[in-house]
Amino acid sequence: MDSPVLSRNNVKVFGRGTQPMLFAHGFGCDQNMWRFVTPAFADDYRIVLFDYVGSGKSELAAYDLERYATLNGYASDVLDVSHALELQNVIFVGHSVSSMVGVLAANREPGLFERLILIGPSPRYINDAPAYVGGFERSDIEGLLETMEKNYIGWANFLAPVIMKNPDHPELTSELVTSFCSTDPVVARRFAEATFFADNRSDLAAVEVPSLIMQCSDDMIAPAAVGEYVSRELRGSTLRHLRATGHCPHMSHPKETVAVMREYLRSPVDGAQSVARIR
């Protein structure tokens, strides 16, 4: 339990259950993004939270430009954390880019995972005309990189610690916290590039672990057509459309998110697994 990975990835474990739910945050944030949904599962599962190296309160010194140049490096973080805690039958919950990180991890060690819950997955964000519509052109991503760069420039206090005045969490009022979204500018850019220039379409077909695809309404980052593409390619997957709009239902619509996840977790895993076995 005292593996260096636990401090490297700022791993947090809680909950009264035994089966682990491993929550992997998306690009731009850290494990704090899960705090509106994890309490709903803490009675029945062992909740494992972590920050990717370079995000949140991970150890920046452990950041390696080579390792994290592609999503495979992030998948290694997922596997490292799972090994450090000796997890088994993992329910992996990944938001956005972490959906593909989960896919990569599951392909490397299928036996480790029982199910994958993928929130807003996209195997490729950039259009690949004529057959594939990811939703973005390369120039759009350049626009994101420019916006990020402007926000990481010195005088914006984007990176500065802020006094927390959070009306929905009065117990946290006035606590001095570092911005949850703060990451080193170089790391953030690298993560953005690894995310938005990735093409993981060919990894989907290899997945043997059953999965849930949670597709939001009006999600411009992972449009409905992408969700359908993922559900076609990912055998043994269940596609659920949410009423929640946007790209972060676990933050904007936590109740619906929890309900859909619960319903999926109650469904027998055998049915889904047999789909995988038949192939």
Binding site: G26, F27, G28, C29, N32, M33, R35, S96, F136, D140, I141, E142, G143, L144, L145, E146, T147, M148, E149, K150, N151, I153, W155, A156, N157, F158, V162, M164, K165, N166, P167, D168, V177, S179, F180, C181, F196, D218, M220, I221, A244, T245, G246, H247, C248, M251, S252, H253
Partner: protein, 375 residues
């Protein structure tokens, strides 16, 4: 339906404000926008109200909204000084700085944001970022060039050593009379060939060493080492030259003084310093070797090599550590060497977590100080 849900009545004063104002729900639905913002973007109220906030954002900023801005609002309750690119109705980019706060109003969580238009400031930011990129590229190009140079030097040094070793070997065979007896004149000539060959080999080894250090291909085996031992092991190697020039020397290194160092590399540095001191000190001069703890720094030790030599002009003192530099002095004829010794020595000292520095007075002498972590 949405309209009932949010549409806050805007204070008419907000329409007169010199900055944009917008309110939106967690799902992005716009509830209010002041006239300044609508005019900035060329929209009528109906074209924006009840629509998603993404409508007025450039694509890059839409992604940023989903990945950074909204999470910040949701987790912190506010977001300050966020740069966003808005998209006007006619498709133009409008740069703004956003300050936003999320709070509950009439049972709905709503974000109120003030959008300050950036015109001049954006130009300055662009210029700054451009300058930063140019500088980063220049640094990367220089590093590439230096690495290429090191690789080239390493390769060339290897290539040169092979024939030089062959020359040395065959001269030895001739001297031994393997190919028949040689005359005293021939023996003397062969001796000159050998000395030149050995000199050339030393220079090439120096170059190879520098190239290895610069390309990071050197491992350091740090151990606790007695500085007195190092001095006593190194001095005999240089004593013949000291004796030839008739120099005096004294050693003052406390027996218990220990450093964390790589023995071989420390010996190399010390030999280089002693050899320089001998080379640049006139006959009858003296050398002084001294070891001590660093005052006020209990974790550091120093080993100093002082001489009463020609000295180095103050403005050239740092230059002696640059590769391929040999400081010319009117007091001394140019001395043989690659000018790599001190550069290599400093790199080695730094590689062991220490440093090598120099002090000098022209015509009086120089002192070189190796600083190391205490062992």
């Amino acid at each position: 339906m949405r309209a009932d849900r949010c549409r806050p009545a805007l204070d008419p004063l907000l329409d007169l404000a010199p900055c944009g104002f917008i309110s939106f729900l967690d799902d992005g639905c716009v509830c209010a926008a002041n006239r300044t913002l609508l005019e900035m973007l060329g929209y009528s109220p109906d074209e924006v109200l009840d629509k998603h906030i993404e409508l007025i954002l450039a694509v890059g900023s839409r992604i940023f909204y989903q990945t950074h801005f909204f999470p910040l609002l949701r987790l912190h309750g506010r977001a300050d000084e966020i740069f966003l690119l808005l998209r006007s109705k006619s498709g133009e980019d409008v740069a703004v700085l956003a300050n936003a706060i999320r709070r509950e109003r009439r049972g709905e969580w709503m974000t109120d944001a003030v959008l300050l238009r950036l015109v001049e400031r954006r130009k300055f930011e662009d210029a700054l970022l451009d300058a930063k990129h140019v500088a980063e590229q220049a640094v990367a190009a220089a590093e590439d060039a230096n690495r290429a140079k090191s690789d080239f030097l390493a390769m060339m040094s290897h290539e040169l050593r092979t024939p030089l070793n062959a020359i040395g070997g065959y001269v030895q065979l001739l001297e031994m009379g393997v190919h028949g007896p040689i005359t005293p004149a021939q023996a003397e000539a062969l001796g000159r060939v050998t000395r030149s060959q050995q000199h050339l080999l030393r220079l090439i080894n120096d170059i190879l060493n520098l190239a290895r250090i610069e390309s990071g291909r050197i491992d350091y085996d740090l151990q606790t080492i007695s500085l007195n031992d190092i001095v006593m092991a190194t001095l005999p190697m240089i004593e013949p030259q000291i004796a030839v020039k008739g120099l005096r020397y004294d050693v003052d290194v406390p027996l218990g003084l220990k450093a964390a160092a790589d023995r071989e590399k420390l010996e190399q540095i010390l030999l280089n310093l002693l050899s320089n001191a001998t080379k640049f000190t006139h006959e009858g001069g003296s050398l002084h070797i001294e070891g001590a703890l660093v005052p006020d720094r209990e974790d550091l030790v120093e080993l100093r090599v002082g001489d009463t030599g020609v000295g180095i002009p103050g403005d050239r003192l740092e230059l002696v550590f640059a590769p391929f530099v040999q400081v010319e002095s009117s007091h001394a004829a140019r001395v043989e060497g690659t000018g790599l010794g001190l550069s290599i020595s400093r790199d080695l000292a730094r590689g062991m977590g220490g440093d090598l520095t120099a002090e000098s007075t022209l015509g009086v002498g120089s002192t070189f100080t190796i600083r190391l972590r205490r062992g």
